[in-house]
């Protein structure tokens, strides 16, 4: 059994001039400081079936079974 991996980090000096930021959105993060861990998920679903070309019809109810309306 080998010894566990040892990681020693020395944080150097940080000096930032100017941050020009358009947006932080959809469960993202901008952190000026220290943290233990960052875990960010993003689920984005735009499949081809998301585009429906059909006469005006309501979207299906939760118990309908089908995810999309058949065009």
């Amino acid at each position: 059994m080998s010894s566990p991996l040892s990681l020693h980090v020395t944080n150097g000096p940080v000096s930032v001039g100017c941050i020009n930021l358009v947006g932080v959105s959809s469960s993202s993060a901008l952190l000026l400081g220290d943290t233990e861990s960052i875990t960010l998920y993003s689920y984005f679903d735009t499949p081809a079936e998301s585009m429906i070309v059909s006469p005006m019809a309501p979207l299906p109810l939760p118990g309908g079974g089908e995810e999309q309306i058949e065009p």
């Binding site: 566990p4 991996l5 990681l7 932080v24 959809s26 998920y41 998301s50 309501p58």
Partner: protein
Amino acid sequence: MNRDPRSTTLLSLFVNTVSSSGVVHLGDGQDTNMASRALAVQRAIANFQDDEFFFESYPIFYLPQPVPEAEVPVRFRSESPWPTLQVGCVYALGVSSSSTFRVGCSGPVQGVTRIKHIRHFNNLVASPAGTSAENRDYSS
């Protein structure tokens, strides 16, 4: 973990808009958990008749999320001989949709966003110009 968290000096901060559960946090803190769900429907003709938008209809909103696990044990040690993070000015236009902007130290940060897009058009065939709603045949 880092036992001596550093401090941050910020010269100036400008944030135009904070919306949709966005957070601007100045100072230290503990765990940060963020979650956001959106059902984005783009339609040629609006339907105001009844409520038809349910997160339960789409698997993306209830599928389990994979959790990355640390497989290798690591003996981690860090030190910060320079105790201050120096930042000049920050200009941010927007912080939105369960996102966070923090100046300071924190514990674990976790965020989940699930977005489903639906586009619903009516008649794209006879539309040389304009939107499908403008080219709709209202005579029938």
